[in-house]
Each structure stands twice: as C-alpha cells, then as structure tokens.
C-alpha cells in the first residue's frame, strides 16, 4: 500500500518500549543500529545517535547538522504518515560509515511513500491555507547528496547519503 493521503494499514505490532542499540562491523565499514517506537518523543534520541556517529566519522559541524535534520525529517514522516501517528510500531535506523560516505537507513513497515507523487508545496499557498506540512522531503533532498526510497515486501526504506567529498555518481548501498 502506498501513502499519498490515502487510508492506512500498517503491519507490525510493537515491539519495544525502549530503544535498542546494536553494532555490526565489516572490513573498512561500521554499521550501528537503533530501534525506536514510532513516536516523535524519540526524535531527539535519533538525532543524538546520528550526531555521535557522524562526529566519530569525522564530519564537520555543518555536515553533522545536516545529517541530524535529514534523519529527523525522515523519521517524522514515517511516524506521521507511514504509521499515522500510532506509536505502537517500530522504526529501525541504521548508520553505515564507509570510507567515502555516511549512509543513514530508516526502515518501517507502514504505508509506502511514493516519491514520484511528491510535489513541494508552495509556501504562500501553505500560509493561505494555514497548512504546515510537506516540507520534510524537500529538506532531505536539499541537504543530502542522495535520497533513495525503496520497498521490499512489507519493508520500506529511505536511505540518506552524504559523501565526504563532492558527491560522485554512485549507487546507494541500502540493505533492502
């Protein structure tokens, strides 16, 4: 099922009352995992998680700030739209640090987002209509070198990629 303002079904039943952390390692790469309940009360924790690993990976302050807001926007969209604000689900966040890039993967089992159906709202129209949403995807795309959406079975994934240097044409290494 896709989300584009349509009714919702979501699948997984929750999980953990508290976030869970884990780490995996491979040659030349490090991957760190965080699982949170689908509630905005955990956004600050997600930002801290990404900030910590981005700093450890050697990214400068501006890049760290950009990664934090991008992951916040991605998780907020999952919580609000994929799970329609229901906190009884799980959001899985993974950070992968490679020699040339920092990749954040956010996975859910809610309503799939169709990036092709996304249009940036007109800010003047938003003000006239007292509407506030729809800007998170624009922020992610503006601040990251690559943003990729994919789905496999019930699992949806968005990958946020920042390269250490000016972005080469590359393929995102998401895990779906």
């Amino acid at each position: 099922m896709q989300r584009a303002g349509l009714p919702v079904t979501s699948h997984d039943a929750v999980v953990r009352a508290k976030p869970a952390l884990s780490v995996t390692n491979a040659v030349g790469r490090s991957t760190y995992h965080l699982a949170i309940p689908s509630s905005t009360s955990h956004l600050e924790e997600v930002r801290r998680f990404v900030e910590k690993h981005a700093r450890q990976a050697g990214f400068n302050g501006d890049a760290v700030d950009q990664l934090k807001i991008a992951v916040d926007e991605a998780c907020t969209n999952v919580i609000k739209h994929a799970y329609c604000g229901n906190p009884d689900h799980q959001v899985d966040i993974s950070v992968n640090i490679a020699s040339d890039r920092f990749t954040i993967s956010i996975r859910d089992k809610g309503i799939r987002f169709d990036p092709n159906a996304y249009h940036l709202p007109n800010i003047f129209e938003s003000v006239r209509q007292h509407r506030a949403g729809g800007y998170g995807v624009h922020i992610m795309r503006s601040l990251m070198d690559q943003v990729e959406y994919r789905s496999k079975g019930p699992v949806n994934e968005v990958c946020l990629i920042k390269y250490r240097q000016a972005s080469p044409a590359g393929t995102a290494e998401c895990g779906c």
């Binding site: 905005t40 009360s41 600050e44 003047f124 506030a132 800007y135």
Partner: protein, 124 residues
C-alpha cells in the same frame, strides 16, 4: 523530558516568545500552544527570540506558517529575531525570508513594529 521551552515576556505592545532548546515534531505543540495563548490574550504582535534556539525542523517551521495569516489579519505579525546561523539556514531553505520579517535583534523587531504603527496611523 522535552529539550524545549517557551518563555513569555512583554516588550512594549508585543509579546516576546523566548525559544530555548530543540524545536521538532514532538515539541512543536508547545510553540503552537504559546501562540494560541497570545491570541487568547488578544495579542497579535509576536516576536520570536531565537537566541537560545539550538535546532528546528520543518515541523517547527510549520507552526509559523499555520498562524502567520491569522495574526496579520488581526493587525499583527510574527517577527523572528536573533536566530543562530544554523537555525536561520533551515528557515532560508524553505524560503521563509520571502514571507517573514527575520531580523538580527529583538530591538530591530520592535523598531519594525513601531514603524508599521506609524505607517498605519499616517494612513488613517
């Protein structure tokens, strides 16, 4: 525990909202409640002092978008002052400078309100 707070402080005819901490989809409701409280008190001139605002996401920006029209219709405005550069960058990313008065200091915001009052009186 939320890492965000809103302080209320009158300055002339305006109400200053001192934002502190991180404004995201979880804490945006606190800013919304503060603006609603000002409206309930018949205050339409709001200055947002962002000196101690460390972070904002689109959910926080959305609160400004949702209320600016009502406040301007009531003869007031939201003027945004003293933002840290990293926070200003997010406002800029969404084109807020086209829509909002974003100034360097709270005093500049007061001066803008005063200038608007003079213009209004001269037109009357």
């Amino acid at each position: 525990m939320s890492n965000f707070s809103v302080g209320f402080r009158p300055n002339g005819e305006a109400m200053v909202l001192d934002l502190k901490g991180e404004l995201d989809a979880h804490t945006a409701s606190e800013l919304e409640a503060a603006i609603k409280k000002a409206q309930a008190d018949n205050i339409s001139r709001i200055i947002v002092n962002g000196e101690n605002l460390q972070y904002i996401s689109s959910a926080g920006l959305g609160v400004f978008m949702a209320y600016i029209d009502e406040l301007r219709t009531a003869g007031g405005d939201i003027k945004i002052a003293a933002l840290q550069p990293k926070v200003y960058n997010v406002f800029d990313l969404l084109g807020f400078p086209m829509l909002f008065d974003i100034v360097g200091t709270e005093e500049e915001a007061i001066a803008r309100f005063d200038a608007e009052s003079r213009t209004t009186r001269n037109l009357a």
